[in-house]
């Protein structure tokens, strides 16, 4: 599909349509679950304390909202990384940031902290920041951070993180190791409304920062030198975008483990449909990323009957083949 020239009207129309789609999806997902419960009875006045209320309001809605904010954060970060690195295969997980979060999270789990405790997301978030700092510092040469170096350092960081997790698991007891494995698999569970709101706030702030640099990133995509000649402070833009995207990934990973491919699929589908302009791609990824993960998690919650699948299984099964398809196209030199 050939994308039309980006106008303000087009941004408003597309964003509004995706927002309506997201709100409808949130409402629908709140009505679907492994257990029958009436959304209307749960939300009726005086319903507090009924089974419907506890199922829908205390367990299902916080989970659906968490899926939304995690999906929004991952997809927005993906759009940012892909723009930043000028690489269609860049994914938040490729840069080693989630690896850092996972190492720290696994370490505190083995030390006996309960996975339910808010300490785990906090520490995982610190791990993401630590990994991000290392990636930026190492990838910087002569005051510049090139996409190439970022990707390479990220790959190595992931390898180190994977090894550290294996090491932590090897010294942990068998049951602790299993607990770490489950935590890392990429699963959404019901969380506190407060934690959901916190991750949501991160997602919004990160998306706003990315959006502010979207025009500069568009120019960067046309080439570093021409962007610089048009007055873009290339280094400053790169650093701001990287930090914002890394914060988004850190917040998402800290509450959901390694949910892969959301950050890859969503920006790509949208780029095919809407064109490469990041001023539209960033808000569109935010809204459609939320919609995508809400539905993926709804499938994960219900497809096996009362038992659940980790949502990472659904996103990887959809994303893996899609990744191969993209790779094949880029190898053939097809259009991006």
């Amino acid at each position: 599909m050939r994308a039309a020239y980006l106008t303000r009207r087009r941004v408003v129309v597309v964003t509004a349509a995706l927002l309506v789609l997201l709100l409808a999806s949130l409402l629908a997902a709140a009505g679907i679950g492994p257990v029958p419960a009436s959304l209307w009875r749960a939300l009726a006045p005086g319903a507090a304390g009924t089974t419907d209320y506890v199922i829908v309001v205390q367990t299902r809605i916080p989970r659906v909202l968490l899926a939304g904010v995690v999906g929004a954060a991952l997809a927005t970060a993906g759009a940012g990384f892909q723009g930043l690195l000028a690489n269609p295969l860049a994914d938040p997980h490729v840069l080693g940031i989630s690896g850092g979060a996972a190492v720290f999270g696994a370490a505190v789990l083995v030390l006996g902290v309960d996975p339910v405790s808010p300490i785990v997301p906090l520490v995982a978030f610190l791990g993401a920041l630590g990994a991000m700092t290392v990636v930026v510092l190492v990838a910087r040469t002569g005051g510049r951070t090139t996409p190439h170096a970022l990707l390479l350092v990220g790959v190595v960081m992931n390898a180190i993180a994977a090894a550290l997790i294996m090491l932590v698991n090897a010294v942990a007891s068998y049951r602790q190791a299993q607990g770490v494995l489950f935590w890392m698999m990429g699963a959404l569970t019901t969380q506190d409304y407060f934690l959901v709101a916190l991750v949501g706030a991160y997602a919004i702030v990160g998306a706003v920062v990315l959006l502010r640099h979207a025009a500069a990133l568009n120019l960067l995509a046309a080439g570093e030198e021409s962007a610089a000649s048009l007055g873009v402070d290339v280094e400053r833009v790169r650093r701001a975008v990287f930090v914002a995207a890394a914060l988004l990934v850190g917040a998402a990973v800290s509450v959901s483990g390694m949910i892969s491919f959301v950050g890859l699929i969503v920006p790509h589908v949208l780029r095919l449909a809407l064109g490469p302009d990041l001023r539209l791609l960033v808000p569109a990824s935010f809204l459609f990323g939320a919609t995508f993960l809400v539905w993926a998690d709804t499938v994960a919650r219900t497809v096996l009957g009362p038992a659940e699948l980790p949502v990472g299984v659904i996103t990887a099964l959809l994303g893996g083949p899609f990744f191969l398809f993209l790779l094949r196209r880029s190898l053939r030199g097809g259009p991006r």
């Binding site: 309960d114 339910v116 299993q178 607990g179 489950f182 699963a187 009362p306 659940e308 980790p310």
Partner: protein, 278 residues
């Protein structure tokens, strides 16, 4: 009592009644390596602990195992360490992780006995198999009979109580519970409970919090790694669940519960005390 179990006891009785002196011969394997915590406990309970020359890193009961060489992980044994202690019998539990190692041990000419350790039936089958390999079948029969009578004693203690609806949690985030076909589910039934997740699917399914609301257990047994407070916080909002409303979330975090070994009566008694206190 199941048919094979009964047959086993009969065999044991026959063996016991055999008054004639047994023919002199080597009493089974003399140098034994055991690579699963459950099977290690069984070998010691059969009185053959002095023949054990190596165990797995997770084999920590009875106390005598502390002095034995650790020959690699439960699911990741070290082939050369095992072969190095020159065993004539290696007892393992099957898993995808140790398949290649077990094949290599067999290629080195060592006899390997594979036993299952998922359910109570597995336990009684493995007691018979291990006792057979160690040629201590009398002890095997006595151990099995003793375990059955102690499990029956737990059943008898809770027989007069109404059966409680029980959810047994083994992981907090994501929420993992004991489903059907598990040792833990069987022990809950023996301890006077009904496992409300028995139909949910594979052995340890991941479930949503809303399923807990729908199944409304009377008692939540929390056997997850982590903390007691973590478990309470997880379920605190589910005010319609009787276990939450009545403060019946009980920590039962003990390794005994996860081993289909000779300490299952202790695990059953602990669960009975948690489900039907007083």
């Amino acid at each position: 009592m199941t048919a094979p179990g009964a047959a086993l006891v009969v065999l044991a009785l026959l063996a016991g009644c055999d008054g004639a002196a047994p023919p002199p011969r080597a009493a089974g394997a003399a140098r034994v390596v055991v690579l699963a915590p459950s099977a290690t406990e069984t070998v010691f309970a059969l009185g053959a602990g002095d023949r054990v020359v190596g165990v797995c890193a997770q084999c920590d009961y009875p106390a005598a195992t502390a002095k034995l060489p650790k020959l690699g992980g439960y699911l990741t044994p070290s082939v050369e360490a095992v072969v190095g202690v020159r065993p004539d019998l290696v007892i393992v539990v099957p898993s995808p992780g140790n398949r290649e190692a077990v094949r290599a041990i067999e290629r080195a000419g060592v006899r390997v006995l594979v036993v299952q350790d998922r359910t109570l039936d597995d336990l009684f089958t493995s007691i018979a198999a291990i006792a057979g390999a160690l040629e201590v079948s009398d002890a095997g029969g006595r151990l099995a009979a003793d375990l059955r009578s102690r499990l029956d004693a737990v059943r008898a203690r809770v027989a007069s109580q109404p059966r409680a609806r029980v959810l047994l949690v083994v992981g907090h985030s994501p929420l993992i519970v004991a489903g059907g076909g598990t040792l833990q589910g069987e022990l809950v039934e023996i301890a006077g409970g009904t496992n409300v997740a028995a139909d949910v699917g594979n052995a340890f399914p991941q479930v949503s919090l809303e399923l807990v609301v729908a199944r409304a257990p009377d008692v939540i047994l929390d056997a997850a790694m982590g903390t007691e407070e973590g478990g309470r916080a997880l379920f605190a909002q589910l005010t319609t669940v009787p276990a939450v409303a009545n403060g019946r979330i009980v920590s039962v975090g003990s390794d005994v519960l996860f081993r289909a070994g000779p300490r299952v009566p202790e695990a059953a008694a602990a669960l009975a005390a948690a489900i039907h206190p007083g």
